[in-house]
Structures are given as structure tokens and as C-alpha cells.
């Protein structure tokens, strides 16, 4: 019997919704114009399509169309937000606050800021993955220009207290940027209502195509400006030059429209499946769910299976189920997840963690099959694990003098 590989790695990327692809196709063929061509029908047609898509994207996040800057994806949006604010507000200050558990796009952009003479504070997070609001407030200084904290974490799904963070930023007159890549399209994300001034997100985490994203930039109270990082023809109100990716933007617009209409029912269905997966897998001995389960995305579960190494475990079932260990961006390296380590998990538990991320197309029978395959894999790997045997014999593993290598 041919069996489809079960995809539980939707935080890496989501498959395109077929309705998104259908909407895009004409813009590769007969409607192939450049949205910046003002002199003929093809250009007008492309411009109209981009306008409609921009409206849909804006509607999803409760913004004005003029507040949407299209980019190549969330990494570019993050770079534009961090570096663009740093340059634009250089006269006001040079200090940025972020957290250790941010995506590399933010962390590496902040490293760049430090090289440019800026100052960055990397907040630690608490055991449940949340930043401490008092730590945040204490870190704000007279030269602080920006706080950049993600809406939902890619590895654990933990949702930061956006409203409270926004209030602190408001109180101190500091701009607030959020990398909302994992949240937009899956839970309500309304930057204006909450008090977020810049927000990054991308199409391919919400059933749209890869290669297109957006940066929300508030236009009133306050009117925020960022210095362009890509110079050229002055597209996107001068903040991001380059011929617009019309088919991609059309797909992004369709994905946003679908997300707005279907988000609530998707979230309800998917969270039930996630809860089932989590309940069944934590029936296994010595497991731990990572991150605050009361402030978490509805489709994510990050579980440590003690005394089993994550990469080896994945290999037991990767012919049936696709998941990731740590984050997809770092699992090519041998380092354990820096997100989990920042949450105070020991390196051993971080090495033992698996991220399950469900999606719009996940079916209940797939979840059932995944539970069976993963449980079987955990038991198999524990039979092979010397430290599981030692744990079972009552050996205190912390007392052993391990040879680090």
C-alpha cells in the first residue's frame, strides 16, 4: 500500500493552498505585466492585482494598504525593520532590545547593528519561554530606539505578551517591532490595535508561496519611517526597491484572504489534533512539553523525549512522518536548539526535543499514524540508549563524569 508521507513540519513552511496557486497562475502567463509599467494594459492589470492583494494582506492584520511594504520574505522584512529603524532614528539613539530566542534573521541583523556601532540587549527568557516584562522595562535606556520581540516562537509556538510589551514601549516612547512570521494567518494579529509599529510576516507560513513577505510600517500615531536597505527604482514608497513579484504577491493576497475567512475554524480543528498528539505522546514515560502551554500557538507542540537523541529518533520514522528537531535553520549543525537552551533546558534535553507543527491539511488519521510511529521510535531508541538503561537502573546521570567531546 502506498502511503503518503505525513507532514508535521508546517512551521518550516506550509504547502500552498490549491486556491492560492490557481489565483497565481494567470500572472505567470497572460497577465505577465510589470506592476510599475504605467503605459499599457499589462502594467495596469498587474498593478490592479497587486493593489487587490495589498488590500487583502492589510485586511488580515487590520492595517491600511499604505502600511504594507512587500518584500522577499520575513528575513528581509526583519532586516529592513531592524537596520532601517537603526539608520532612520540614529539621531535619537542607537540601542535595540531583543531576546535570545528570536529567529536568526533578527539576531543576525542585531549582530550587524553591533558591528555598525549600535548597542543591543538580548533578553533572556523565562523557563516557559516568555520574556519577563520587568526585565524588558529595566533594559530600556534613554538611547533605546527599538524593541524587537517575536509574536510566536518558531520552535515552541510560545506567544509573547504583545499587549503588555506594547504598553511598555508606549510608556517609554520606544518603537516596537514584532517578527510575527509564525502567528500571522493562524491567530488574530492586529498591530494597530495592540500598539505594534512594525511587523514582519511571510506568505509561505500561511499556505502562500515562498519568496514573498511583508513589513507592516505604521503610518499614523506614530508615523514610522525606515531607511531602505535595497535601493533602486523607489518601489514600495521608497522603502523597498525592486520589481514587484506579481504572481507571488497575488498568491500572498489570496492566502491572506483565505486565512482571514478560515483562521478561526482552522485553529479550532488543528488545536484539537495537536492536543490529541500531545496527550498521547506524553503518556510515554519521561517526556516534557517545552514552552508555556497557556500562551501558545494552536498547532505547535515541542516535546522532549528524555534519554533519546532527537536526530536519531527522527530517523526511525522519517519514512512516515516529517518533523524537525530544534529548528530547521540550525539542525544542519550539531548544536542543540538555542531557543530551548535559553529557556533553561539542559543541552541533553534540548538534544532530545522534537517539534511537531500541524497545519490546515493535517488529517486526524495522519495524527493517529504519527502518534504510533513516534511512540514506536521512542521505545526503539530507548532500547538502544545506554543512558535510558542507566536511568532505569537508578544511576544518577548528573554524577557521572562524562567525557565531553
Amino acid at each position: 500500500m502506498e502511503r503518503r508521507l505525513i507532514y508535521l513540519d508546517n512551521n518550516s513552511t506550509t504547502p500552498c493552498d490549491p486556491r492560492v496557486v490557481d489565483a497565481m497562475v494567470p500572472y505567470f502567463y497572460e497577465k505577465h505585466g510589470n506592476a510599475a509599467s504605467r503605459s499599457h494594459h499589462f502594467g495596469w492589470e498587474a498593478e490592479d492585482a497587486v493593489d487587490y492583494a495589498r488590500e487583502q494582506v492589510a485586511k488580515l492584520i487590520g492595517a491600511d494598504e499604505k502600511e504594507i511594504i512587500f518584500t522577499s520574505g520575513a528575513t528581509e522584512s526583519d532586516n529592513l525593520a531592524v537596520k532601517g529603524v537603526f539608520e532612520m532614528y540614529a539621531k535619537k539613539g542607537n540601542h535595540i532590545i531583543t531576546a535570545e530566542t528570536e529567529h536568526k534573521a533578527i539576531l543576525d541583523a542585531c549582530k550587524h547593528i553591533e558591528k555598525m556601532g549600535g548597542e543591543v540587549t538580548y533578553l533572556k527568557v523565562q523557563e516557559d519561554g516568555l520574556v519577563s516584562l520587568s526585565d524588558l522595562e529595566a533594559a530600556i535606556k534613554p538611547n533605546t530606539i527599538l524593541v524587537s520581540l517575536m509574536w510566536a516562537n518558531n520552535e515552541t509556538g510560545v506567544i509573547q505578551p504583545m499587549r503588555e510589551i506594547a504598553q511598555i514601549c508606549e510608556k517609554h516612547g520606544v518603537l516596537f517591532h514584532s517578527d510575527a512570521t509564525q502567528a500571522v494567518g493562524k491567530i488574530p494579529t492586529l498591530p494597530r490595535e495592540i500598539g505594534i509599529h512594525l511587523m514582519s510576516f511571510t506568505a509561505h507560513k500561511m499556505y502562500g508561496p515562498k519568496g514573498v513577505g511583508a513589513l507592516y510600517v505604521s503610518r499614523k500615531s506614530p508615523r514610522v519611517k525606515v531607511t531602505a536597505q535595497i535601493d533602486g527604482g523607489g518601489h514600495e514608497r521608497g522603502m523597498r526597491s525592486g520589481t514587484l513579484n506579481v504572481p507571488g504577491i497575488v498568491g500572498f493576497g489570496k492566502a491572506a484572504e483565505l486565512a482571514r475567512l478560515e483562521m478561526a475554524q482552522d485553529a479550532e480543528r488543528i488545536s484539537k489534533l495537536r492536543d490529541k498528539l500531545e496527550a498521547k505522546l506524553t503518556e510515554l514515560e519521561e517526556t516534557k512539553v517545552n514552552g508555556n502551554i497557556n500562551s501558545r500557538m494552536p498547532h505547535v507542540s515541542n516535546i522532549s523525549f528524555k534519554h533519546v537523541e532527537g536526530e536519531g529518533l527522527m530517523m526511525t520514522f522519517n519514512q512516515q512522518v516529517a518533523v524537525s528537531s530544534g529548528s530547521a535553520c540550525t539542525s544542519a549543525s550539531l548544536e542543540p536548539s538555542y531557543v530551548l537552551v535559553s529557556m533553561g533546558l539542559g543541552d541533553d534535553l534540548a538534544h532530545s526535543s522534537i517539534r511537531f507543527s500541524l497545519g490546515r491539511f493535517t488529517q486526524e488519521e495522519e495524527v493517529d499514524q504519527a502518534i504510533e510511529a513516534v511512540a514506536k521510535g521512542v521505545n526503539h531508541m530507548r532500547d538502544l540508549s545506554p543512558i535510558w538503561e542507566m536511568y532505569k537502573e537508578g544511576v544518577d546521570l548528573t554524577k557521572i563524569e562524562w567525557s565531553a567531546h
Binding site: 537523541e309 530517523m315 543541552d347 540508549s385 543512558i387 538503561e389 567525557s403 565531553a404
Partner: protein
């Protein structure tokens, strides 16, 4: 990164998984690596005291597919070897046999360390004083 067929074979059907009596005089145990590093190997040998030949070998490994395959292969190679032949096993032989990619070479190094640690443990139990290069944790 795709695994080689040999790694997959050893991972799917690991040879010689299990434990030998670590207190037995003719058993040598090597425990190397650390949970924090994501790899722990325990390799045990049972030696025929009369001939110095390794009669049996067992392993248990906490680690990735390559670590499990490296230790599984090591137990296969150890059986029937004399101690001086066993101690000469080089990690690069494991790398070649399993076609390990560069990021997984440390798995073969760990397997070599485990072999040397097991032999050293056996020799110490039996009053043989050797100046072994392998400075690994003993169980």
C-alpha cells in the same frame, strides 16, 4: 542530508545491541561521550582470556543515526579480533565503510574512543599496565 545505505542498514538492523556483565573480569566496558553533546556510546567486549581474542561485543548508543551505525559496525569488527588488532582500528576505516559525511566524522571518532576505552578497562581489570592514548570515561 541523506544517509548512506550502510548507515541505514546498521541503523535499521543494529548488530549486537545489549549489555554484558560489566563486573565480569573478562568483560571490558567503554563509556564515552556526553548527553549534553548529543552522543553517548557504551561498548563492551568479552575476551577469551586464554587466547586474547574478543569473543563477543555489545553496544548501546544514545545518538544520531551515524553514531548508532558506527557503534554497531564497531561491534561487528571487534568480534574475533585479538586485542592488539582491535586497538588498531582507526576511525577513518569506519568513515570509509559507512561513507560518513564530514559533519558526522565525530561519530566515528567516538566509536574509536569507545573501542580503546573498552580495551583499556579490560586490561586494567586484568592487571595489564598500558599507556593508552584514549583518555575516556570508564563505566
Amino acid at each position: 542530508m541523506a544517509y548512506s545505505n550502510k548507515v541505514l542498514d546498521h541503523f535499521t538492523n543494529p548488530r549486537n545491541v545489549g549489555s554484558l556483565d560489566k563486573d565480569a573480569k573478562n568483560v571490558g566496558t567503554g563509556l564515552v561521550g556526553a548527553p549534553e553533546c548529543g552522543d553517548v556510546m557504551r561498548l563492551q567486549i568479552e575476551v577469551d582470556e586464554a587466547t586474547g581474542v574478543i569473543r563477543d561485543a555489545k553496544f548501546k548508543t544514545f545518538g544520531c543515526g551515524s553514531a548508532i551505525a558506527s557503534s554497531s559496525l564497531a561491534t561487528e569488527w571487534l568480534k574475533g579480533k585479538k586485542l592488539d588488532e582491535a586497538i588498531a582500528i582507526d576511525n577513518m576505516e569506519i568513515v570509509e565503510e559507512l561513507a560518513l559525511p564530514p559533519v558526522k566524522i565525530h561519530c566515528s571518532v567516538l566509536a574509536e574512543d569507545a573501542i580503546k576505552a573498552a580495551i583499556k578497562d579490560y586490561q586494567q581489570k586484568n592487571g595489564v599496565v598500558v599507556d593508552s592514548a584514549a583518555e575516556s570515561t570508564q563505566a
